[in-house]
Symmetry: C2
Subunit: 430 residues, 2 copies
């Protein structure tokens, strides 16, 4: 048995407290699996007086997180502060500079500064681990970077934000509108007071950028992810989706195409029978397709103290065992320079919902615009009649290029009979 | 870049050929992820003339698989011969004895001799890797042994045999009987000419024994797995399952109970809405429940050349990178001595189908037997009437101890009005 691995934890929110709790409650299991004890000996957080449900007695305490890196008694840094910049980034840089392995749950940091941090870790010959940054306790980083390492991956996709999936699930199950479900989720603690990071798709895009980098072996490229959130998904669209045999999910999708890597986060209609369509509530799921392995799906809790602590401790056990993997799966010299493909080049089927004045000739005008853009229709739905009033019209297209769809949409939105901004939702095959 | 990792492959069936193909087609990806090239330089198989769809030119060829271990040009052994004994076992032993890492896809070998081989690997300080032994390309060994390593696992369960899942899926979808679907599966190559290993549950039990050892950190105990196959599942039971809101799946289940570890493979009724109920055809899935991570499910192709080669190569990449893990997740001194719990101690709900003579008093006789054993009924179904003829009667119990159920069954089978051996299927909660 080697000497204990001594851990410094920065950030004592629910996840930080969860890590302390796990390492204590499961000390026997962790010691057996790690080949040595793993113990937190130093912590950093702003408020020393708050009750976190774990005993902090006997731990060295730092006001300044970055000081953890200089503590000679700390072997490994765990960064749970969050945020792409500020003390989180400084601590990770300082830890690597000090030659100490760093474990982080910080997806924003990795999505935005991951390439530079990966290069720093590589030069220092030190591990930078981040299983907890994507999909909580589901070991998806390990699966992509090690388990499927022999495959040429063609696609990685997932439900990466539990808040959005919870809101969309409740909207569907209860037929309710976005705003009221969001308010309820905030009361229940499933959504933040400022929810924009989640519901505008930014959090999912951070995670997708990380997954895409690992899947396709290229530098992380968050700025090139196309991002749309779920604010504009309405109960009406969810009802139409059901009628058409789909469910609406916020997906992150990254695909290898001939032109490069296409990465996007937006609400999708997915066939009801697709496994990912059935992943409901706060659960996350990640699908990966490789040339030899075929399609794999991993599903579980994507957030919360327990699952996230499970992922952080898995990284610590790897470090204790001396198991390490290059940050982005391969040394920087082996990363691909495949370009990113803009959303305008996307080809797929589209759901288009318009609110139009119920009068003869409107559908003819709309379909003429689509025809002019070379867009072929698969189906059209107009439920209910109220002559002279606003009624919803749903159009589903065959495969179409996004740029053509956008051009058509601009013209359709300008038609007299079209009363609101059209709703466009991309349809994804299973 | 280090020097190439030189691999000797024993067994050139579809999986062996798949490993050669993957290492060649994806050489760039493998080199990047492994940090060095991985190349097969020596092989062993019985028939040198058979066309395997891969070029074997330039490879050293051994008639005797065990001789691979002595080849000084071979760094790592890949054992794909199969079988719990004979040359497969000899080769793995010889490889470890020669201080060479061994990768195997051989679940029978690990289930039966895994404890001894683990001890040998530990003493020799050499890796014995077996991702391909369970659930094909799904990285479930890595998930349990590394990804969830911080958790106290309470349950691991799965659809572990694609042949059985395929047969049960087709029986349900087409309302057909076991024997004819089996014959068809044999024609399609989804079932072996001698299918007993699959359909009698032995293959699933090998895999479950491995998963249970990893999940609960104890020596592999194949002999203590309770095993039943799917020969006795009938179209009638599948139809009743549907009516009751269940699907019939062959599951492997291992649970940590107060009395020890309960491990069993048998057909189960699982609620239609459970994620595992929807895993159809040749797909496999594994569910694990940990105290911090909650419930995780992994799903994908559990067999076939591509997925199995993907798993073998993942192990080779780990070895090339110097990542290693004790065979059973912890050093032998850290394994638990939790006893196995016999099936008689199982407590659960049961589906019981009888063929009885349709005459007054039969149900009263049957229910009296159940009452005498303290078994409480949740529901009873008797569809159709044909006075004096055989009709099916279905009884669903509340939670009951298996030993009581067995005693009741013996007495019920002896009743005059009961015409065939009763069918008993355990009901598993989601």
């Amino acid at each position: 048995m080697s000497r204990p691995l001594s851990v410094g934890v920065a950030g004592l929110g629910t996840v930080g407290a969860g890590v302390l709790k796990l390492l204590r409650e499961n000390a026997g299991i962790v010691t057996a699996r790690a080949g040595r004890p793993i113990a937190v000996t130093a912590v950093s957080a702003r408020d020393r007086t708050r009750d976190r449900g774990v005993d902090l007695g006997g731990l060295r305490w730092y006001e300044d997180a970055v000081a953890l890196a200089a503590d000679p008694g700390v072997d490994v840094i765990v960064e749970l502060i969050g945020g792409a910049n500020g003390p989180a980034r400084q601590l990770v840089q300082a830890g690597l500079a000090a030659g100490k392995p760093v474990v982080t749950a910080n997806k924003a940091l990795l999505a935005v500064h991951g390439a530079a941090l990966g290069a720093q870790a590589e030069q220092a010959g030190v591990t930078l681990a981040f299983e907890a940054a994507v999909a909580g306790g589901i070991p998806v980083i390990k699966a992509l970077r090690e388990g499927l390492a022999g495959n040429r991956i063609s696609k990685v996709a997932g439900i990466l934000n539990g808040t959005c999936n919870y809101i969309l699930t409740v909207m569907r199950e209860r037929g309710r509108e976005f705003a009221e479900v969001l308010a309820e989720a905030q009361k229940l603690g499933y959504a933040e007071a400022d929810p924009s990071f989640d519901i505008d798709g930014v959090d999912a895009a951070h995670k997708l950028a990380i997954l895409a980098a690992l899947a396709f072996g290229r530098p992380v490229a968050f700025d090139e992810v196309h991002v749309e959130g779920i604010r504009h998904v309405s109960a009406l669209d969810i009802a139409f989706a059901r009628e058409l045999g789909y469910r609406i999910k916020l997906l992150g999708l990254a695909r290898r195409t001939e032109a490069g890597i296409a990465a996007r986060v937006h609400p999708c209609m997915v066939p009801e029978a697709a496994p990912i369509a059935r992943v409901d509530g706060v659960f996350n799921a990640v699908v990966a397709e490789g040339d030899f392995v075929g399609r794999i799906m991993l599903e579980g809790r994507g957030a919360g103290a327990g699952p996230t602590a499970s992922a952080v401790v898995a990284d610590l056990i790897d470090i204790a065992r001396g198991r390490s993997t290059p940050v982005w799966g391969a040394a920087s010299g082996h990363l691909s320079d495949a370009p990113s493909v803009p959303i305008g080049a996307h080809v797929g089927c589209y759901y288009l919902r318009l609110m139009v004045v119920d009068r003869p000739g409107v559908i003819a005008d709309v379909t003429a615009v689509l025809r002019d853009q070379g867009i072929s229709l698969e189906s059209m739905l107009q439920r209910g009649r109220s002559p002279g009033e606003a009624v919803p019209v749903v159009l589903v297209t065959h495969e179409t290029r996004e740029s053509a769809m956008r051009a058509a949409l601009d013209r359709i939105a300008g038609l007299d009979a079209v009363l609101e901004a059209p709703t466009l939702i991309r349809i994804e095959p299973a």
